[in-house]
Structures are given as structure tokens and as C-alpha cells.
Symmetry: D2
Subunit: 429 residues, 4 copies
Amino acid sequence: MAWDFSTEPEFEKQLQWMREFVRDEIYPLEVLEADDGSFMRIVRTLQKEVKERKLWATHLPPELGGQGFGQVKLGLIHEILGASVWAPTVFGNQAPDSGNSEILANFGTSRQKELWLHPLLEGKLRSGFSMTEPHNAGSDPVDLSTTAELRGDEWVINGHKWFTSNGMIADFLIVMAATEPDAGPYERASMIIVPTDTPGLKRLRNIPTMAGEHERFGYGHAEILYEDVRVPKENLLGERGKGFLIAQHRLGPGRIHHCMRWLGQARRAFDMLCERALQRRAFGGPLADKQTVQNWIADSAAEMQAARLMTLHAAWVIDREGAPAARKEISLIKFFGARVLHDVIDRALQLHGSLGYSSDLPLEEMYRHARAARMYDGPDEVHRQSVARYILRDYKAPKGPWPREHVPTRREAARRKFAAMLETMTADV
Amino acid sequence: MAWDFSTEPEFEKQLQWMREFVRDEIYPLEVLEADDGSFMRIVRTLQKEVKERKLWATHLPPELGGQGFGQVKLGLIHEILGASVWAPTVFGNQAPDSGNSEILANFGTSRQKELWLHPLLEGKLRSGFSMTEPHNAGSDPVDLSTTAELRGDEWVINGHKWFTSNGMIADFLIVMAATEPDAGPYERASMIIVPTDTPGLKRLRNIPTMAGEHERFGYGHAEILYEDVRVPKENLLGERGKGFLIAQHRLGPGRIHHCMRWLGQARRAFDMLCERALQRRAFGGPLADKQTVQNWIADSAAEMQAARLMTLHAAWVIDREGAPAARKEISLIKFFGARVLHDVIDRALQLHGSLGYSSDLPLEEMYRHARAARMYDGPDEVHRQSVARYILRDYKAPKGPWPREHVPTRREAARRKFAAMLETMTADV
Amino acid sequence: MAWDFSTEPEFEKQLQWMREFVRDEIYPLEVLEADDGSFMRIVRTLQKEVKERKLWATHLPPELGGQGFGQVKLGLIHEILGASVWAPTVFGNQAPDSGNSEILANFGTSRQKELWLHPLLEGKLRSGFSMTEPHNAGSDPVDLSTTAELRGDEWVINGHKWFTSNGMIADFLIVMAATEPDAGPYERASMIIVPTDTPGLKRLRNIPTMAGEHERFGYGHAEILYEDVRVPKENLLGERGKGFLIAQHRLGPGRIHHCMRWLGQARRAFDMLCERALQRRAFGGPLADKQTVQNWIADSAAEMQAARLMTLHAAWVIDREGAPAARKEISLIKFFGARVLHDVIDRALQLHGSLGYSSDLPLEEMYRHARAARMYDGPDEVHRQSVARYILRDYKAPKGPWPREHVPTRREAARRKFAAMLETMTADV
Amino acid sequence: MAWDFSTEPEFEKQLQWMREFVRDEIYPLEVLEADDGSFMRIVRTLQKEVKERKLWATHLPPELGGQGFGQVKLGLIHEILGASVWAPTVFGNQAPDSGNSEILANFGTSRQKELWLHPLLEGKLRSGFSMTEPHNAGSDPVDLSTTAELRGDEWVINGHKWFTSNGMIADFLIVMAATEPDAGPYERASMIIVPTDTPGLKRLRNIPTMAGEHERFGYGHAEILYEDVRVPKENLLGERGKGFLIAQHRLGPGRIHHCMRWLGQARRAFDMLCERALQRRAFGGPLADKQTVQNWIADSAAEMQAARLMTLHAAWVIDREGAPAARKEISLIKFFGARVLHDVIDRALQLHGSLGYSSDLPLEEMYRHARAARMYDGPDEVHRQSVARYILRDYKAPKGPWPREHVPTRREAARRKFAAMLETMTADV
């Protein structure tokens, strides 16, 4: 049957389990004050449960332990995981390891898989992704200035990167560098695997941001210099000049997951909004009785519902026709979803007043993180432009100076069209 | 299979036929200058084709000629019909006759069906719906002041109505009147069938509105006085005191149809926006190259997609659980959809400049009609309030003064929760 | 004294008289059903009072009867006149005659003044302004395609215009035509006076628009063909190639007047919003008690106050430094004011529900007229672009790759700056 | 002369000096890494310059060293100070000391001035303001639950406060407590001076917030318990039951200063927006050429201009008629200005991309601070409500069921009004 918004009962049971598990076991991690070692052992205990439940690293292909879920199901999973910053770690799909393992699984040689993918999945290595550059607009591929030159059997890499995820703690980085500087804008770059202990690779610092220190234990986004960094020829990941294509592959479904995680965040803020509206009183009644608050609840509900259906629809297009077919849909949810995420959190925060502004509630951190959503994976402005271009391809300008719907022209055509019919009819009477 | 956004192939063929039929045969009607008689005969010719195609009055139950389509399919049909003001007439579901026939079919006695429903379906009678009152807020049922008193075998009706659809041309009206003035707010009113030639019923005028004269040939919304209007006891439609319940029944799926028709309107405006953006040049290039225009296209696409999926989702809930279960969803799309309708038309109009403002294009009329969408079927403000109330029913205030997510409280609980585990672990090392 | 928001007492008395006169004598004109002749005689009676009060045609230079008011005072006058569609006619500054008389007064030869200006001011002739073309974007001067060629002693004009104000009733038109087709974009056009009975000038029709029929008695915006229209060489108004410069002169202060008139409209809608909020009850209290309505009132008040102060500030800049110096300010209020006008009327209309949508109130007409404000005198999009350009002229890009506020760079500089000071101090302790 | 937007030349020179001083001497303080002692000595050196310039503590009455500037001039000063977080400290008007010294100056006894005000102004004591309570909505005075009971010669204070400014470092606090629990809502509270070393006063912590650690050296907002805290009867500040009245006095002009400081912040972000738009290139040109960026610049310019004029207007009303007369104006700018502040910073941040999100620029901190502006000094929602109430006092509901502008009623009146005139006229012809 067509047009069905339901979830398969068997899978819904898994989701239900996840919801409870995230709430009961992972939420407490968020506020636990423990040292790195203790913390990670608790995490590993929880990861074991997830593996037993067959929900570990579900984004991977079946041969690597995934369940063959399509993007719709992965989306529904990520909606639940998005509610807590630690849930992806516990479920084996935290960024950037999840995306990196996907690339390695799909484009890596068997030797690369052996050296990097398997240890990564076993938690023995940590990875980072090194693409953004401080002096170039990330959304314009022409501007990539880090280079990798093949000299003999080695790639020699030079460049300046920042916002390299996990940069200070990763064991290896996947680096985007121009290997074919004279090719077309989308064929200039390749991906290369670079161990972080390679000479010439300088980890300058974790860049302080609005996100603050939530990435405990060294996580963060680093600034890194590559000065004549040399790695073996075999560290090329995928084909030469296919760097952006692979990145696109990495980002497509990844954006679905992002958007669904945003919904998990938004839902959590929304729950707080509703509960506090019932709890807090001012001027003779609960805040829930104030029409402004009711408007916030109604608008938030509408916008979350909109973003949710649009994201699952985009996932469904990927499942049916592949990620490239869904580019318009993915761009749509990118900017629409980022706005919803912000607005719902913003309203929840405002309702809580100074308490909401304080770190005694998670809202202020959610608010700071939400601000980044309008930038990463491409700024909203670029996605809007892309959407317009995809759409305009299906239109063409009407001939002549007037729009197709020009009434005087249409009137003349209608007169001609019905003339005979009207004549017969008049005769009829 | 769950989460499916596709349309059944067989039904899709019908939709495809409708799209072409509406564009090729009905669009010309919009601008045809013909007298009432000629015009209606062309319409009847087209209606015949629709009946042969088995797409006539699809909202009716099968025994009256409907096809047993659920609301999702009806929604997809109305999306196509919404593009043209004459399409509902050609497809047998123009307001208010469609809603009135639904009520008569569902709540009428067999005698009432014989007297009113069948002639209505055959096009021998025309009907109107008389609920709104000039001096009372329509959204508050307590304020209904028209009364119907049972004296002997007759209802004696007194009151002042306006915005009675088709009031000046209808043969009979369905009138909402307080028959149990002392009952609870939603049990005060009943529906009564009143022939328009009954003594005491005074049709004052068609009320001029922003919508202008599009309702050619006498259609419109009338102001009507009821002064000791007497009709037989049997003209009660449904049970006493059930007026609002029946109205709700009338309005529930009706709102789905409205919202989908709005999308048909919005889509038509959007097509004009895109085509004109490619056609019109200024400052050295087509308007399609200006980023502001690209933003309009992208935002419109996102909002239409959002409204569409939300509306079909609401339809799906009705099909699965009945209209009362979908009240929240219906209210959501009411205010969300009305906004989208306006905004898309507004952008298309702005892009067309003074041409868009002129009646040489249909946009200015669409803009005027769109303005009403935020009011009819209940103003957006009331729907927002309803949504908030439905949602808040599922929440309760946390006990104590703090929100559930209060970090200090949660931290204490997390410490306790993991204490034993951490102890064992420390021992472990 | 500086920063003074008060109005001079003497002038305030004049304004107060105007407020009462407009309300008591001109508002009734709006709804008076009288034939053209009777109506105009009432108007002339009122005009006489205005002239006695020395408030007639105040925009003109003193030698033509103006009072030498600057733009601030004219602004305050237009704010009052804006409340009623007939007030400008009664006060001698209705478009397009007011702008045309200004051009003639400032740029006309004495012969032109004698032939056209004086009869215009005496009400013996009516004028129109013919600039917009159906197939060209009005905001881009390169696109002007109507030409005027000097052949012997005559200008021969060919072109297609529309939205020519008063086109069907005017005695003469001021036509914008390219006389120097190869000059730079802003030097291509000249203004030429064309009597409407000149052979070859074809008045096709008044263009129907969303504004509807408010322009009673034949006013409106016409579509006009110029086919080898010949007028004497002396009909050139101002210098050759200065058409856009003169138009700019015409539009500069004109936009101030527009914006202030919008505020008069907005204020009238706002008064209706507030009064109705107190009058109408629903769900147990007046609408004024609903927080949504309170938000509408507060936001409207803030936005009207903002637009008002910004417009008077722009007027003040013109008075101090001339219209060219105020181009940024004028563009700012154009798009800001048009939005305020719409939003305030929109809220007032929504509050009145179906009554607001009906023509029983003036709101629906105000709403339709307000929609045009985002287009005429240049679409908002073009004004936004102009503002950005004016502003960016005062900035320059920092040298090097980093913004001036780059913290690491600044930190280094601060360290150096205070080093000596800190050293001394440490020694101090 | 009336309607004057200029600044007096003499005073403008002072402002110009301030602009340069803030940019050259105070901006570097923001990023200086120095210990508390060194830092404060640099500050004191700068303060000395300010005092010599006669710009120290300008909010105070002349007898305490102020210059007798009115609110307009103070506003223009605060606009400049707002650009840097350290400028108020250098100019002697940092919160909360500035507000506290004002209260003491206006309402303190001579003994209180001697004990608290003079040492405060000399920098020998630090003060805090203790009003907000964790379990009560701050905007509703009925909810204040901290009590002060007069027992013998002592006030005994019990309660729980938070967001007490400077709470952890202040030498004394001004505490708002209910001394007349049964009085009307605005007469329940009094202000009492409480030294922080009084037994029973427990400073729990500085509350962590989104604002982060910018308040270096211990500044912040503290949570404080008052358990049987006893202070002498003479510590009552002002009269019993006048606590809210005094707070209002403190907040009125204070909001002007806030709003003007917000403009200083917004202007700084706007400068960054414009400079970066010219500096950064993507897709073949500077960002300044993208229409979206131009829209941001134009809208920001309009909104800042609006907020600025409205705030100076409110200041002017205070100067003319006193703070109570300006309550509507002050509430207007509170919510309007807070929105502008956020929006301008938000756009600047978005334009800078990941750099803007990082702490390498001041934008992310400005963004976090701006979020608080919608809450402190009363949440925007409460100010909107107040504005609506002030405005509605000047209106009354029209009699009868129809609005005053009801066209049918007006038409009848107009007919009557002009009847005689029309009759004469017709006779005339």
C-alpha cells in the first residue's frame, strides 16, 4: 500500500527499547562526573548491551556488522540517538568515526580496511576528518589550497587545516587535498589517510568555540599544519580526483542522520517547554495558560512535524533511488531543519528564563550547539542556492514576453477553444 | 511495508488524467467570457466526462456514487482540483454543496435524503450553510445567538446570520441554531433545514469582500435575517444538540481538502515564480540568478513540501483512526498551510512586479483569496490554542520546583546510579 | 538644542486643525455615494477652506503658493493626509499632479509653466506620468525601450507604456523616453511633455489591479501606445539625457511623503485594532485580554514608532544636506515602511475576522493598497541592494586573511601595548 | 527648533574622544592575559584619564561628580561604551555598582551614603543586587517569597535568591524582601542593605550560564541563601513597601543605557559583517556581491537605525517628563532592541562561518550575551503585555456592535452630512 506513515511493529519494538535505554542509561552519562577511564568503562558496558541487541554501528554494511537497515530506519534510530550527546558513542556511530568507517568500508582497499577500518571498529584506533581550511570558503571546492603531490612512492602534503574533527586525539586523519590542481572544481581533490604521528604534521590546538567544553576528554576540532608530510602512495583512499565525490557520498546520508538527530534534540527541548509551562506559575496561573506560550507550543509542534516528515521523505528517496537522486531533498531539510532546531530550543530556553540561560539545564548548551547547525555540512545559504538550481532545471522560460498565465492571451485562446461548442449549444436551445 | 510516500500506480494514472484535464479543459473556463447559460452548459459537458471517468463527487459514500476513497486519496485529488477555482464544480465537490451533501448523507433521514440530498446531487437544487453571525465570535460556541424554538410541530427560528455561503441563490439552507440554550457550550445547537422561500427569511445582500467578484453568476456569501421563520419539526438534521458535533464532522476532512487545495494554488503560483524568474531579465541577467529570488524558490519549495506531507499525514490518521483522532493534526495544517499558501503567492506576486499586481495575471486574485484562509474554518489563533491544549494533555508538571532535566539533581542521581559499577571497575584495574 | 523630537507649537496647531478637518470633513467623502459632478463640488468647497488655512499645495515653492516648509514639516502633514484616500486631493497634493507640478516648477521653461503648470495648479488641466514599460524591469534604466528621436523641430516618440498614472483622463503626460540610446545607463533618457490628444497616442485601457475600483471617476493606471507621436522640440522638459536625474529629484522627497502617508494609514488601522480589541468578546473576555492580541498591539506600536522616527530623520537629512545626501535613508524607509504598513493592517484585519475581510470596513481595501507599496517607487529588493552598496562604500577589507577583530592577533598586540606599563607596575609592587 | 537629530558640537567632541579611547585603549583589555592585580592597575590608569576628561560616573548627580547630563546624552555615551565589555568599568558605570550607587544617592540616608555610597564610588567596596528568586517568576511581584521581619531593632531576613550580581565578591548586597506581605502586589517589598559577612548569609556558588567566563576575576551571578540574617533597622533603604518603586526608578533609565549599549554591540558586529563581506571571497567574488549578504546589511542597518532613534526618543521623554512618563517607550525599546541586537550579531556570525563560531572572534561571545537580553530587566513577553496595556488605556470600545469605521453606518451619516450642500449645488447648476 502506498502513503503509509507507520513503522513496522518488529522494528518499532527496537525503537521503543532504544528510547528507554537512552533515557535511563545514557542521559545519566551526560552529567556524570568521572575521570576519563571510569567514564569510558561505563560506556563500554553500555556498548555491550547495544551490540547484544544488534543495534551497534547500524550504518555499516552487513558484512561489517550492520543490519542492512535503509536510511528511513537509520533515520528513525538517529532521531532517538540525537536526544543525548553520548548516545552515538554508545551506539557506535559517533562522528567523525562513523563517516570515516563508512568511507573506508566503501572505498578502502582490503589492506586499508585491515590497517584502519577494523581497528577503528574495534575501538583500538580513533580517526579524524581534515577538510576545512581557515583561509578558504569550504563550500567552494575551487578554493581548496592544501596540496598533495606524488613524489616517487609518496604523497607529499602541504597545507593548513582547521576544524579537523578529533584532530588532537585521532590516530589517523583522512585528509582532503588537491592532487589534480588543474582539473575541474569537483575533480581537483583526493582523500589520503595520514597517521597523526607522521613527521611534519603539527597539531596546533583545539579551536575554542561557542560549543564550549562539552567534548570532554580531548574531543574537539583542531587546527593542523601539514608541512611536507609524507605518506605512502597506498594511503590514497579511493581514486585520484574523486575526493569530493566520496565526500558527497559521506555527507548525503550523513545529513539525514544529522537532521534526525536535530529532531531528537528539538523534541527534548519541546518536552521541557511543555512540562515547564505546566509547572511554572506567574500572574495567577501556569505559563501554559498564556497565549504566547500556547503559540510557541503550536508552532514548535508544526515545525517539528514538518521537519520530521521531510527528513523521512528524503531518506525514503535515498532508499528508492540512491543518494544522488535525493540531493534537492537533502538540501531542503538541511536549512529547514537547522532553523527548526534553533527555534524550538530558543522558545524552551526563553520560557525557562534565567534558569534556562543557566547551565543548570541542558538548554543553554543545546542552544549553542544548535547555532552550528546553520553552518556545518555547508551553510544554509549555499543549500538554498542549490535547491533553487535543482528546481529551476525543471522549468523553462515561456516564449514571448508574457507569462503563460497572462489573462488576455488566455482569454483569446479560451474563446477560440469553446467557440464551436458554444455555437452548437446556442443552436440546441 | 511502512513509511511509504508513493502513490499506487493505478490511482496515479487517474491523477495524471486529472492534471491534464484540469489544465487543458478547466483553466480555460477561468477566463471565458460567456453568459450564465452558455457557461453552465460547457461545465455540464465537462462534468459528464468526469462522471465517465468515475471521478464525480468522490467524497460521497459508495452508495451515493463515491469510490470509497479514503482521505489520503481524496487529498491527492483535491491538490489537483485546488489549482483552479472551477475544478471543484466540474468534479462535483464544490463548497458548500459538497459539505452539505455529506451531512445529509450521513445524518439525514431517508425522507430528508429524498427531498434534499438527491435533488442536490442531481443539480436540481442548490444549498447553503448558515452558521456565522455578525455579532458573535464564530469560534466560541457559547456566543451563538440564533435560536430555534419548538412550538407544536414547528421550529420557530429567529436570528441574524451572515457569510451564509450561496445564501442569495440557494434553494435551502442548513441553519445552525441554539435549540438547548442552557446546555453546555458544545451541546447548545442543532442543525435545521430551511427552504429559502419560507416566510420570515430575508436575504439582505451578498456581502462585498476582498475576494471580489470571482464568484460569478450570483455565488457569494449572504447576510440573512430569520424572523419567526417556521419549518416542520422533521427538518431537524441529526439529533437535537448535536449541531457542533455534526459541524465538526463536516469540517474535519473538509479541512484536509482545503489544505490540499491550497497546495494546488501554491504550486500554481510557484510554477509562475520559477518560469518568470527564468524569463524576466534585469541588471544583466535573468531574475533566476539573483540570490533573493533563489531564496524565495528554496523557501517556498521547503514550505510546500512541509505542508503537503503534514496534510497527507493528517489524512492518513483520519483513514486509520477516524477524524476525531486527527484533531491535533488537522489544526496544525490549518494554520501552517494557510501561511504557506500566502507566502508562496506573495513571493510570486512580488517577482512579477506591477504585472503581478494587475489582474492580467491570476496572482492578485489568488493573493486576495489566500488572505481568507487564515480566518475561515476557525482563525489560526484559535487553532494554535487548540493544538497547544491537545499537546499539553500528554504532559504533566514535574513534582517539586525543578524541571526534570535539572542538572544538579540529575548529577546526584547519576552518581548514585553508577556508584557500584564504578567501584567494581576501580577494583578491576 | 540638539536631539529634539518636539513640534513647534504654532505648526502643531495647524496639524491639529488638519487632523480634525480630515476626520470630520474628509472621512465622510470616502463613503459618499454621489455622482462625479456633485462629488467634485463638495471637494472644491473643502479645498477652499484649505487654501484659506494656507495649507494648499504645500510642497510647491513659495512663489507658487507653497509655505516654504521643509521636508520634516511636509512629512508631518502627509502623515495626517495619509489616513484618507481623498485628503491629498483636498490639500492639493494628489499624485501624480503633485510630482508633475514639482518637476514643472523646478525644471520647466517659463513657456512650459505658462502652458502646463499654471493650468494644472488651477485645476483646469490634469496630468499623468508615463515611465513604466510592460516588457522592461522598471528598476533597471538600461531596459527603457521607448524612444524619442529628434526629427527637424519635432520629437518623434515610439514605445509601449503602462501603469501611466491618470493615463485615461490626463490632458498631458510627462513621458520618459530614450533620447540618447548610446549614453550611460543613467544618461539615456529625457522627459517630454505630450498632450494626450496628439495623433499616434493610443490610450488602450485602465489596467485592472488588486487595488480595485477605489479610483472613482476614471482615475487609474493606463496602458498607452506611442506610435510616431510628434510633439514640438520645445516640449523637452529639462535637459536632454537628464530624465533619470529629474525623476530622482521627483522621487526623493516623494518617498518621504509616501512613507509618512503609509504611517497615517497604519495608524488608522492600528486605532481600529485597539478599539475592536476592547469591543469584541470571545471565550469569556474582550480580545484585548488575549496575549496574542497584546503582542500584535505592542509589535505594531514599536514598528510604527520605528518607521516614523526613521522617516522624519530622513526628512531632516534632506532639509540639512539635500535629497542626494539622504539616498541611503530614503531607501531604508522605503522597504522598512512598506513592511510596517502591511503588517499593521494585516493584524487589524485578522482581529476583525470575516468583518475585516468584508468591504463593510476599510481594512480590506487598505490591505490591497498596502501590497503595492512593496513595488512602486522601486521594489524593496532593489532598495535593499542600494542600501548595502551605499553602506559598503564606507568600509574596506582588512589587509591579510584575518578580520580586524581576530583575537590571536589582537592578543599579541595587547601584550606588546601594555608590556612596559605592566613592567613598571610589577616593579611598583 | 523642533525635530532635530543633531548632537551639540561641544559634546560631540567628547563623544569622538570616547570612541577613539575605547577603540585604542579599552579593546586591547578584552584580550589581555594578565593576572587580576596587573589587570586592575591598567584599568585604574585608564580610569584616571577618564576622570580627567570629566567623563567618570556620568550617571550620578552633580554633587557626586556627575555632569548633569540628561538621558539623551547618557544614551549617546552608553552607545559608545557598549562596544566593549570593559568600557563601563573604565568609565565608572559598570553594573551593578552603577545602579546601586544611583539608588543610594537618591534614596539613602546620609549615614548610608557615608557607610556605603562613598566607599563604593572610591572603589573601596563592591556591591551586589539581590532580587531574583529561583522558585518565583521575577516579573510577578506577588511571587516574591524572601521575607524580612522587623524584630526589635533588627530586620531578620529569610529567603533564597539567585542571579545576585557580583554575589560572590560583593561587600554588601541590596536585598529585595517582602516586609509587608499582605499589602498590594507593588507595595509588598522593601530594599535592605546587607553586608555579605553577616551570619546566616550563605554564598552558594556563581551560577554557570551561557555567558561563560567572561566575567573574569570572580564577577558573576551568585546563588545565595538567607537564613535568619540579621541587620540593623537602619539598613532599610528608602521607605518600607517602596522596594518595587525604587527598583523601577533604578531600572527606567538603566534600560535606556542597556539599549544604547546593545547598539554599541550591534554596531561592532555590523562593522565586522561589512568588512568581512568585502574581504572574503567565494564562488568567484566577494561575499559583499551576494544578494543575501546585501539583504543582511540593509536589514541590519534599518533595524539598528530604528532601535537607535526609538531609544533616544525614550531618553528624550524621560528628560522632558520624567521616567514614569516614558514607561511605554522604555518597554518598547526593551523588546525591540533585544531582537535587533540578536539579529545583527547572528548575521555577522553566520557570514564568518566556522571562524565566527570560534572564539578567535568576539562574535560568539556577543551572541551568547545577546541571548540574555531577551530575559533580563523583565522578559520581552511581559514588556509586550505592558505596552499593550498602556496603549489600550487611551482607547475605548465604540458603542454598539459595530466598529466606528463601519461603512454602512458611515455612508448613512455622510449622506446626511452633505445632503443640504448637495441640494444647494444641484440647484446651482
